[in-house]
Symmetry: C2
Subunit: 699 residues, 2 copies
């Protein structure tokens, strides 16, 4: 039982290593004065954005805190709920913030290292990614174990079953806070980054005809800031939420599964092993000087595989030790999730990398124009949903059966939930390989703006394009684990409502049959909510990008000598426009996540809410995979043409591919990756407001 | 009880009126020799396509017939099943065929009438649409009542409950035949029409810079043929299937609802009233000479509203007479569907017509280029899913409660199913307003090719653009009714499996809870199947369009004097390429519909199949609405710019809008409208192969 101490220990270790890697990065040189100045501009912009975002988010959290506080005063939720909510939000945001800090300190250093060798560049960028990965899992695990200790102590007088329920329900609220914050960070950052990117490209590349990252482009700093606030801070908050969510939802099912407190600590322990394995894995990421891209990818993979193997071995002994060998099926569920994660990563690569057929064919379709490239890209994205769905399906059914679901339904559900923990157990290192991408992207920008040698830019480009593949993998993990976690959330929702029904003597029984019209309508509304959510976010990008286009055009017209490189553009105004635009749309989007389960609950009752969650998961899972992969494929098809294929840069095919890439930007970096957060946010809101809905529902 | 005779009488009347309207059309002049020649070319192409399609489809039906025959020999299905399947397919195809026959006879006549006045043109085109509408409902109702008489007579010795089960299950197979045929017709026709359209536009409009429908374009005849085989023959087969499916699925629920044979005949009778009301409604579609477009739309609407009011009044007495006043709730369910249909039509118009904000804003986004127009169009489509989903949701819950679902679950399901019959009861006339669109489109093509006066083309354009709005409405009906019917199909599936379980003493009980992993995986796979289906169909369009582009480019290069109008292009080769391309992809797509429920059933069992159907309905409903409305909005945004807004024809905004329109083509005319058929086909396959799956399933 005392094994639980492993969690804070592993977490602390992860944070120490994060500090160590930060130190390694910081001691590198930032290069010339010009590079330092550019890096400083990006840092300033990113900080300005985050300060403003946290202000906006602060209001939301304050409002939610008051609502939850009132609910807790009236006895609708436990006394810890408002505080758990706040801390979840804080640490999700904090993880993103720290990740961004290190990323904005690493970009120029990566550029400088790339002027020495490709491998040196990789080491700096990857170290920066590793800091982010270890911070996310470190804080995630630390926060959960602290809450666990506090709650376990506070409720020590209660019988074990009831105690677990109180512990897990407060921890779920912690997850809700993390999800809310993640939604803001992902969507806000996503709108910022893509508005800047699209706006910069539309005027710079297409209208004025200057290269990407040209310092004359007024939106170029905003574009580079965007990489940090969206792809780093947003990503960090997102995966913090996924990580915490998968652990918490498994814990919540422990009582019903008949595993007691052992069932609560197993997910924490698996995560702890994963953290340790990730730390070890990072040391396997190294390669000879001037290795090819394929070798580099192999180096990253080696780190992940090493971690996975360690987890696979140690978890076995852990499960036997904690649960006993009669529950060995739980181990196989964990293994199942771990393997499914590797497959999902591989399939994401297959559909988005230009070394395989789908993206090559997509590039071919650019020859007949932008319309065909859009149609083909949509097809690739839609087709790419098949394999992840099948993998997740197989994983669900195997973890269910193997953990003993045929005899004990709830044990089977627990098996499915913990397979998600297995899938995310390698997060420390997979996130490292993912978060290094934006750093490489920035490094390229700095090389271009500082006018460095073409060879440097070529090296940063190589790192960047590798980053595209790892980014697709990261998104696959987030949404795949969300699909696995979803069932756990619906079950946790049902359990929590049933407990409330019993305690408050309310006349309600669940009928979760898909033939129940309440459930069916819930399914429809849930599916629709993900589409509407995607529409909102894409619209916001479109609007903000439009503003950037106008501003960049204005500067090119009004600032004399800008085009000739004799005058400086006003970078700050573009950063400012993106910041404001991103914030403006956020509240509407967050309300969609919070209000939908409430409204559905008040009209259709808890059955409708369960349907809503299932519908949002089903449609959202598929939509998210489609958007992530279509976007990735468009991006890499463009890069494939830029490498000189099908006419190369400047050809008509290239122009068509740029349109595809631009459409893909909000797909893959704004709407797509935020859907998994929306699903989980809706689930947690449903659970937290369960009694409220139960009391006031019409049907 | 003898009221059932109303069904064949109404059906025959509808067919007689169809003959009368055909006669009215045929007696009009086809215009000049040149116009007659062009019309003949289109007819020849369309016939050639259909002959080839029916050959390909023939093999599929033969194969299925043999499979079903074997299954019936081994006692898995009843002896009527193979024959019901064949007749369903035959009449679905036949309705489309006849509709196309009259459409290809009306196009030049509409052009000629337009040279007199707009109203004369409307009358000819609408008469042609009315023929199609009345043929679809007439044959649908006639075939169902004939099968009803045969089966009722054959099974006369059985007790009433068992007799109804046999009757309805054979009628369901009839529906399966219709769905299979509809899938071929919709998808095959959809691929043909969009490949020709996209191919013709890409080279003609964009590369060579000649106007739409220019006779020098080698793909122009194929484009016009496509309107007929896709938007007419495909549409007819599709709605025949929707119509029959909604009636049959209601009948199938009658026993469980405790309504007995009365419950079986009520849907047939409501449909009969709808047929009569539609015939009456067509006579209200008239207007003064040279009326404005708004007045014209009003004229079409008047016909629909008149029919709806007649149905609303007469159904009341019908329900009271047949079921008695204690079942008056059933009447309100019918009314509910009828009203929901009108709302769905209105919302489709709101999101796709350039008189409202969404399409206007979409047109604005074309100013910043094709990427933003694509992003905005996707947003409009996704956002537009909200209102139909809410309308269908409200309709489901009201029909369920009002018909008595709170006390008798199965009666509530019956209420939902019959609300779909209510929604489609006006089909005779709504289909008429829908099917006239392609005729007007063709008329415009003929005016252009025959070099008629610009005023004529302007009139045909006015008719055509009106047709865009009514087409969006038609698609809304088809998918909305599919969503309502879905629950009935899942229930019918459950009932039929339970009957088999009971009869064959199989150890199986349903657990349709969304927490059952089998159901959840089914949901995922169902959702994914609709995305993969859309990808397949869009890919096929892309491939076929690519072939047309190559062929048209070849002709412009090789045929000397073509560009100067001195030589004739080889129209037939383009028709031939489209025909072959459409057929090639069809088998793969049809197999997806047939194989998916079988594979899921054999692995996950009947619970997984039910989940599959629910998932396909949820995601498919939303995806279909998104595709139909995004496509419609892109098309009308382009037309809005062509009317002279935002720079008008030839401006950069126009070019961007053309890209949007081209992407929208396969969305709205190939993938989108076929999804509802896929859903129902999977449902019927599941039912027909129920015992087979039950016997051989792993789980």
């Amino acid at each position: 039982m005392n094994l639980i101490v492993l969690a804070p220990v592993a977490a602390t270790l992860a944070l120490l290593f994060a500090a160590y890697f930060s130190f390694c990065v910081i001691k590198e040189s930032e290069g010339s004065d010009k590079m330092q100045q550019i890096a400083k501009n990006i840092r300033t912009g990113a900080n300005a954005y985050l300060v403003r975002q946290y202000k906006g988010v602060g209001f939301f959290f304050l409002g939610m805190f008051i609502v939850l506080f009132l609910l807790s005063s009236f006895g609708y939720v436990s006394v810890f709920v408002p505080f758990a909510f706040i801390t979840g939000g804080f640490f999700s945001g904090f993880s993103g913030f720290l990740g961004m800090k290190i990323a904005t300190s690493s970009n120029a250093r990566t550029t400088h290292a790339c002027s020495k060798s490709l491998n040196a560049g990789l080491r700096v960028a990857f170290s920066s990614g590793a800091v982010m990965g270890l911070i996310v899992v470190g804080f995630g695990l630390l926060d959960l174990s602290i809450w666990y200790y506090i709650l376990d102590w506070y409720y020590r007088g209660l019988p074990i079953a009831e105690r677990i329920v109180y512990i897990t329900s407060s921890m779920l609220t912690f997850g809700m806070g993390a999800s809310s914050m993640a939604l803001f960070a992902r969507v806000g950052g996503g709108i910022f980054t893509k508005a800047a990117d699209v706006g910069a490209d539309l005027v710079g590349k297409v209208e004025v005809g200057i290269p990407e990252d040209d310092p004359r482009n007024p939106a170029v700093i905003a574009d580079n800031v965007g990489d940090n606030v969206g792809d780093v801070a947003g990503l960090g908050a997102d995966l913090y939420e996924s990580y915490v969510g998968s652990i918490v939802s498994s814990c919540a099912l422990a009582v019903a599964a008949g595993l007691g407190m052992q069932g609560v600590i197993i997910p924490l322990l698996v995560a702890s092993i994963g953290v340790l394995a990730s730390v070890i894995g990072t040391f396997f990421v190294k390669t000879g000087e001037e290795a090819s891209q394929k070798v580099l990818l192999g180096a990253l993979r080696r780190g992940i595989y090493c971690s996975a193997i360690i987890i696979a071995i140690v978890s076995y002994f852990l499960v036997v030790q904690v649960l006993g060998s009669e529950y060995i099926g739980i181990y196989f569920s964990i293994l199942c999730g771990l393997i499914a994660g590797l497959f999902i990563g591989f399939f994401a690569e297959y559909f988005t990398s230009s070394t395989y057929k789908p993206t090559k064919q997509l590039a071919d379709s650019a020859v007949t124009g932008s319309a065909t490239v859009i149609i083909s890209g949509m097809s690739v994205g839609m087709l790419s949903t098949s394999l992840p769905v099948i993998v997740v399906g197989i994983s669900v059914i195997i973890s269910y059966i193997i953990s003993g679901g045929m005899n004990n339904f709830n044990l089977g559900l627990y098996g499915i939930a913990i397979s998600a923990v297995g899938m995310l157990s390698t997060l420390g290192i997979t996130l490292a390989t993912d978060a290094y991408g934006p750093v490489a992207d920035n490094a390229g920008g700095i090389a271009e703006m500082a006018g460095l040698d073409a060879a440097v830019r070529k090296r940063t480009d190589a790192l960047d394009s590798l980053g595209n593949t790892t980014a697709a993998t990261g998104k696959g993990f987030a949404i795949g684990s969300a699909a696995l976690t979803a069932l756990a959330f619906i079950a946790a929702y049902k359990d929590s409502i049933e407990l409330l029904v019993q305690k408050n003597h309310i006349d309600f029984t669940f009928d979760l049959s898909i033939l129940n019209p309440q459930v069916l309508i819930g399914l429809f509304v849930g599916g629709m909510a993900t589409f509407v959510f995607a529409a909102f976010t894409m619209n916001s990008v479109g609007k903000a990008a439009g503003m950037i286009v106008v501003e960049v055009r204005r500067q090119f017209k009004e600032i004399i000598g800008l085009m000739e490189g004799k005058a400086e553009p006003d970078y700050a105004s573009c950063v400012d426009i993106c910041t404001k635009a991103a914030q403006k749309e956020l509240i509407k989007i967050a309300l969609l996540g919070v209000a939908t389960p409430l409204v559905v609950g008040l009209i259709l009752g808890p059955n409708g809410v369960a349907g809503l969650l299932a519908g949002a998961t089903t449609t959202g899972f598929i939509l998210a995979v489609m958007m992530a992969n279509a976007g990735g494929a468009w991006d890499n098809a463009k890069k494939y043409i830029e490498e000189g294929n099908l006419g190369g840069k400047g050809s008509d095919a290239h122009k068509a591919a740029v349109v595809g890439d631009t459409v893909g930007d909000p797909f893959k970096d704004t709407a797509g990756p935020a859907i998994n957060i929306l699903i989980k946010l809706m689930a947690m809101v449903s659970i937290v407001f369960g009694l409220f809905v139960l009391t006031w529902s019409i049907l």
